[in-house]
Symmetry: C2
Amino acid sequence: MNIGKVAKSSSVSAKMIRHYESIGLIRTSPRTLSGYRQYHDRDVHLLRFIRRARDLGFSLEQIRQLVSLWDDPERASADVKRLAQAHIADLDQRIAALTDMRDTLVTLATSCHGDHRPDCPILHGLATAS
Amino acid sequence: MNIGKVAKSSSVSAKMIRHYESIGLIRTSPRTLSGYRQYHDRDVHLLRFIRRARDLGFSLEQIRQLVSLWDDPERASADVKRLAQAHIADLDQRIAALTDMRDTLVTLATSCHGDHRPDCPILHGLATAS
DNA sequence: TTTAACCTTCCCATCATGGGAGGGTCAAGC
DNA sequence: GCTTGACCCTCCCATGATGGGAAGGTTAAA
């Protein structure tokens, strides 16, 4: 299988597949005589795994660990759970930070009359200590 | 005032002040004979404004618009409000995306027993179509 | 044989920020 | 006046994940 087909069936772009190879997230693939990368079904499985982990917001470094656990028949599920929970905590923090921003902004926007006059609590709020 | 003092009192690093100057977000400052940038109180005000807008998650491009509205005594508060509401909508989208990730991950992690055994619903969930 | 659709590598861009090298300036204390 | 330490300057490089595009080779079908 060439890289284009793998890209389509894994939903990981060819660009990214090459990149993942270059940073050692996936193994270097064998090549044809003319230099084309050759893949098999198991590579598609791995790339789908990576893609889903990305969709869940894991970083490539975290995915590197997930992949090595995935590959390891001796793994303890506790190790996987630890990774997942650390990531959940991280997501919670980011959600909280964004929610704080949102709430502050909603408060400011609510008090802005939003007409032709220049007076604006949003700009005032930004200019003044919070 | 030298750049270090401005950085301290505005909570914007000297590195960033130079960067903001280089991308035209703030005006180029006058220099001493030896090339040191010279600032005044009004520059500190502007940088604090920028810093607070960053803290609320506005991009530098959005801040560029906010600053020009801030500078404009003829502005309509409706224009500011429009910017703020667009940003709120953007924050809402990001919060929703992160919350979806979080919920999916929590579901997977909950069903993982998290012990020494290798069997793990989290890895299984990542490997299988969602 | 031509052509279109592949593939290759290499460099550059994003966004906001920081690190660090290599070197100049300034003020205080001796 | 000289040393020293704390400033300042510019320039280049790095981050993380992804994409764009150039310049050129390969393949399969018409």
